[in-house]
């Protein structure tokens, strides 16, 4: 069922979430969760509200440190890595609530994604040395390419705050792609989008996976979108992994149906 792209890149490695538990005081947000994102797949993480999806994302991207368990990308242990190093390791992410700079232009926002790929501080930037300017021009060109891929290249000079929500969402993904990730984490890419935009987003996610050959891990509520584009689906409920398989398998899983229909009765937190 793994509709992998034509060729799988060497540098795209497996992301392994290994027995991760995360507690906030008395709340167990994640409990012994394990799953793997295979290279070049679109992998969806689903579950009802409060299931722990965003928490899982934050553990993977190093913003939360798990109480126990590990996250590995290939041979690299991400659990012990400071979160700002992940971009350089090839992990890009977008946010559930768009986390862009509203007063900066689209180009400027997406250029931030190049941070880990570039060097230079106050003086090299301040003096606008020819070398700095030349490098920057190269990165701007790549950024504009990425923006074109996401269909936002006609707004490069517009401040993000002046964009419609659906467009801003795409800019957020463009920024995550500007990191040149081998693993792209998308937290609810379709949240707040209308039906047409959601369908377009689905096409975009598949397209970018096919074009770049990278792995995509996404959290999403829209079942239509998930079942349409995911190669594999992991289901969380109350912090536990209750199913992990192909979309068809997961859809038929009685425990998943129970979790979504809420017939299992409310468990105490």
């Amino acid at each position: 069922m793994t509709a992998a792209p034509a060729e799988i890149r060497e540098d795209v490695r497996t992301l392994a979430v290994d027995d991760v538990t995360l507690r906030f005081g008395g709340i167990t947000a994640l409990s012994e969760v394990s799953f793997a994102v295979r290279p070049g797949t679109v992998h969806a993480l689903i579950g009802p509200n409060g299931a722990g999806k965003s928490s899982c994302f934050n553990v993977i991207s190093g913003l939360y440190r798990p109480t126990s368990g590990r996250v590995r990308l290939g041979d690299t242990d991400l659990t012990g890595t400071s979160p700002h190093r992940l971009a350089a390791l090839g992990v890009g992410r977008s946010f559930q609530n768009i986390a862009l700079s509203p007063h900066s232009t689209v180009r400027d926002n997406v250029l931030l994604g190049r941070h880990a790929l570039t060097r230079g501080g106050f003086f090299s930037g301040g003096l606008r040395l020819p070398r700095t300017v030349r490098t920057e021009r190269r990165h701007v060109a790549r950024v504009e390419e990425i923006c074109a891929f996401l269909g936002v290249d006609d707004r490069l000079d517009v401040p993000v705050g002046a964009l419609p929500y659906g467009v801003a969402k795409r800019v957020d993904i463009a920024r995550a792609l500007a990191v040149e990730p081998t693993l792209l984490l998308l937290d609810e890419p379709a949240a707040g989008l209308n039906a047409t935009e959601t369908a377009e987003m689905g096409v975009t996610i598949r397209d970018l996976r096919d074009a770049l050959g990278i792995s995509v891990l996404l959290v999403e509520h829209d079942m239509g979108l998930v079942m349409g584009i995911a190669d594999r689906v992991s289901v969380l409920d109350f912090g536990r992994l209750i199913a992990d398989g192909s979309p068809a398998e997961v859809q038929a899983d009685p425990e998943v149906i129970r979790a979504y229909l809420g017939t299992g009765g409310e468990e105490p937190e």
């Binding site: 991207s61 190093g62 913003l63 400071s82 979160p83 700002h84 190093r85 992940l86 971009a87 350089a88 890009g92 992410r93 946010f95 609530n97 768009i98 986390a99 862009l100 700079s101 509203p102 007063h103 900066s104 232009t105 400027d108 250029l111 931030l112 994604g113 190049r114 941070h115 880990a116 570039t118 060097r119 230079g120 501080g121 106050f122 003086f123 090299s124 930037g125 301040g126 003096l127 606008r128 700095t132 920057e136 290249d153 006609d154 707004r155 490069l156 000079d157 517009v158 401040p159 993000v160 705050g161 002046a162 964009l163 419609p164 929500y165 801003a168 920024r175 995550a176 990191v179």
Partner: protein, 390 residues
């Protein structure tokens, strides 16, 4: 600073710009004319150095405000500590370049003035860096209050360490600035420009002009490049900045360091401008007081937070107005009753920029920079640039 607003675009989406903008000759001509006027300023003022001194004071404000707007507007860290770094810069310069005094009760290392000035700027940067554990942890108004405590610390240290600062009664004279053998003092004979002798005040004007332009260009370049983007990212969303590879703590510390160094340079300039280094007697009025802290904050707010040209405009208003009014007072006898509790130049200008701050906050949070951009937009009918391009 604010969350992404999901409003429809104010203007129609602009057309895709040409890969490289055509040169804007009108702008180039305007800037050139402006620079020529600045260079010729000592010629217009002639032998009356009062206006020249007023101009120098504005240039000090430019350096300080440009440094502060990077910190507050771009990196999102509120600071009221500018006067503290002005003081540290001024005293450091006097200590590094000065000699120990006749009675030997002053510390002075006797370094060449250029070395001392650079040293003072570096010291201020390092002191700012030392404050990073505080500035990195606190946010918004809490950081503002914490940074204000530095002003009190400066007041206390300035008063108690008088072998460094010279003490509140006499202060200490800063050594004359010199670049190799060229002294920024009155000499005979003096070089002339269009018949006007270039003496101490004219020389200081040119020195300050070069420093202010350098500080301005460096800041504009930084704001447009990688470090500027990192500042804005940290300001707007730390989690997103981190995910994009920005080391948030380090970037915050760096911004405070750079801003402190800018304030330190303004401090060295203040020492040369006053020809005296002397700590304040109280925290409310004086060269390094809370009033000055508020003045600098007013400059960057009036100019538009984070805008480098805006900071310049703010400095012109906040530092220039009291100077102009004072000149008017001596020349035309304004405020004759100030001594008897009537309005004084300082009071009136504080009132004017107070009102300007309120107007900006209420009607145009983008400040003078946004107004300027809008005018340019109307004139050239070009697409608006993002407010953060400096």
């Amino acid at each position: 600073m604010s969350e992404v607003t999901v409003t429809p675009p104010e203007t129609e989406a602009p057309p895709t710009p040409a890969p490289r903008r055509p040169r804007n000759w009108l702008k180039i001509a305007g800037v050139t004319l402006f620079l020529v006027l600045l260079v010729l300023f000592p010629v217009f003022t002639g032998t009356d150095v009062a206006y020249l001194k007023a101009g120098q004071y504005v240039l000090i404000g430019v350096v300080g405000a440009v440094g502060l707007t990077m910190l507050v507007g771009q990196a999102g860290q509120l600071s009221l500590a500018t006067p503290f770094f002005l003081l540290v810069g001024a005293v450091s310069y006097a200590v590094l370049a000065g000699d120990s005094g006749d009675s030997g009760d002053l510390v002075g290392l006797g370094l060449p003035p250029v070395v001392a000035a650079v040293g003072a700027v570096v010291i201020c940067g390092l002191v700012g860096l030392a404050f990073a554990p505080v500035s990195g942890r606190l946010r918004g108004i809490y950081l503002g209050v914490a940074s204000l405590s530095l002003v009190f610390l400066g007041l206390y240290l300035g008063q108690s360490l008088d072998m460094l600062s010279g003490g509140t009664s006499t202060g200490r004279p800063p050594p004359t600035f010199a670049i190799f053998d060229f002294r920024f003092a009155n000499t005979e004979p003096a070089p002339t420009i269009l018949g006007v002798a270039v003496q101490k005040q004219q020389r200081l004007w040119y020195l300050f002009l070069v420093l202010a332009i350098g500080a301005y260009l460096l800041a504009r370049g930084a704001v447009r490049s990688r470090i500027g983007r990192a500042w804005r990212a940290v300001r707007d969303n730390e989690a997103a900045a981190t995910a994009m590879g920005v080391h948030v703590t380090r970037v915050k510390a760096g911004a405070f360091t750079i801003s402190s160094a800018y304030a330190g340079l303004a401090g060295v300039m203040t020492a040369l401008w006053l020809d005296l280094v002397k700590p304040d007697e109280n925290e409310f009025v004086g060269t390094y007081s809370i009033t000055v802290a508020i003045g600098y904050l007013a400059m960057v707010i009036i100019g538009g937070l984070g805008s480098i040209p805006g900071a310049v405009a703010g400095a012109v208003l906040v530092n220039g107005l009291p100077q102009l009014l004072t000149l008017g007072a001596t020349e035309f006898g304004w405020f004759a009753d100030a001594r008897f509790g009537g309005p004084s130049p300082v009071l009136i200008s504080a009132f004017v920029y107070g009102v300007a701050v309120v107007l900006v906050v209420m009607f145009e949070p983008g400040g003078l920079a946004a107004i300027g951009r809008r005018l340019a937009h109307v004139r050239a009918a070009r697409p608006t640039r993002g407010g953060d391009r400096g």
